[in-house]
């Protein structure tokens, strides 16, 4: 694989790959795809969130899963970093803690692909706090 060192190299490579690229550039409605948010506050970054973010960016693409990966600030679970929030279409978001590469892989294979819950979920009771009167 030749090294990419200039914009000209980037352009040349894209032209060679053109047929494959057209399929990926479709307008995506955020509500119909998986949304993964990786916590990127100081605690998250220091605990390895960069590698997790990179993993999701790469693997959702490789495994052909329609999704968007973004960052978020501290969700408050600093003891459990790296943490991520995964929202499947039509479902409430779920927060996972202690996410290492192995768990990230499980989250994609089990939760994102089939909806099967995986270890390490941090219970977030938005509704119960709101409903408490």
């Amino acid at each position: 694989m030749s090294k990419i060192t200039s914009l000209a190299d980037l352009k040349k490579k894209r032209e060679e790959m053109k047929s494959g690229l057209d399929l990926r550039t479709k307008a995506l409605d955020p509500e119909s795809i998986v949304q993964v948010k990786v916590s990127m506050a100081t605690c998250g970054i220091a605990s390895g969130a960069k590698a997790i973010m990179d993993f999701f960016l790469e693997q959702l693409d490789r495994r052909n899963i329609a999704g968007v990966v973004t960052q978020t600030g501290c969700m408050g679970y600093c003891y459990a970093e790296p943490t991520i929030e995964v929202k499947l279409p039509g479902q409430d978001p779920v927060v996972f803690g202690f996410v290492d590469l192995k768990r990230a892989d499980q989250i994609i294979e089990k939760y994102i692909k089939t909806g099967e819950l995986v270890d390490g979920i941090i219970p977030v009771n938005y509704q119960s706090i709101d409903l408490k009167e």
């Binding site: 090294k3 990419i4 060192t5 200039s6 914009l7 190299d9 980037l10 352009k11 490579k13 894209r14 790959m17 690229l21 990926r24 550039t25 990786v38 990127m40 506050a41 100081t42 605690c43 970054i45 220091a46 390895g48 960069k50 590698a51 973010m53 990179d54 960016l57 790469e58 693409d61 490789r62 990966v69 973004t70 960052q71 600030g73 501290c74 969700m75 408050g76 600093c78």
Partner: protein, 189 residues
């Protein structure tokens, strides 16, 4: 934080929360002046004067989930450990500039790390924002900008994973060309 690139990623989160549309990161290193400096400039909403005075205090934060903001405090600590300093300039409605200066040869000055990877993540997670990265050494300088790249490739957003990974390689390769120090050329930390 093991590398300066991770500190940069952390400070850029502040710029993102301030609603910045363009973020410029500049790194200047020199063995001749023995200075290593990092500047992060954004066009976000800026910091009010009363908060600006205390902004490097870890207990001052605009976050709501936790009452501590470690990013600037940590960077300041790292800079001062090497005999350097941190300064924050900001104007409400215009933007903020964070400048950290380190003594280049000091043992405690961390390596830069995988800065190409940091840019890749920032661009990948924020495809509608513009990022500029400038780096200068005693041997030369390199500049990357998302606007220039998109223009050249005739695309409106950089979302393709292959392209992001190629951008990471391109940035790191060019930095190696100008003999930037402390680069982490493999994917990882």
């Amino acid at each position: 934080m093991k590398t300066l690139a991770l500190n940069i990623l952390d400070i850029v989160q502040n710029s993102l929360r301030a609603g910045a549309k363009t973020i410029r990161i500049s790194v200047q290193e020199s063995e001749i002046t023995d200075r290593y400096s990092i500047e992060i400039e954004d066009d976000g909403k800026g910091i009010p004067a009363e908060i600006l005075k205390k902004v490097t205090d870890p207990f001052i934060t605009t976050r709501t989930k936790r009452r501590m903001g470690m990013g600037l405090a940590l960077l300041k600590h790292h800079a001062e450990l090497t005999g350097g300093y941190l300064e924050v300039e900001s104007k409400e409605g215009t933007g903020t500039i964070v400048r950290a200066s380190f003594c280049n040869s000091h043992f405690d000055r961390q390596p830069l790390g995988d800065i190409g990877g940091i840019m890749k993540i920032l661009i990948g997670a924020n495809p509608s924002l513009e990022f500029i990265y400038n780096h200068s050494t005693d041997k030369g300088s390199y500049s990357f900008s998302t606007a220039e790249t998109k223009n050249y490739l005739e695309i409106t957003q950089i979302t393709d994973y292959e392209l992001l990974e190629d951008i990471r390689s391109m940035i790191n390769e060019n930095l190696a060309e100008i003999k930037a120090s402390g680069l982490e050329l493999k994917a990882g930390a």
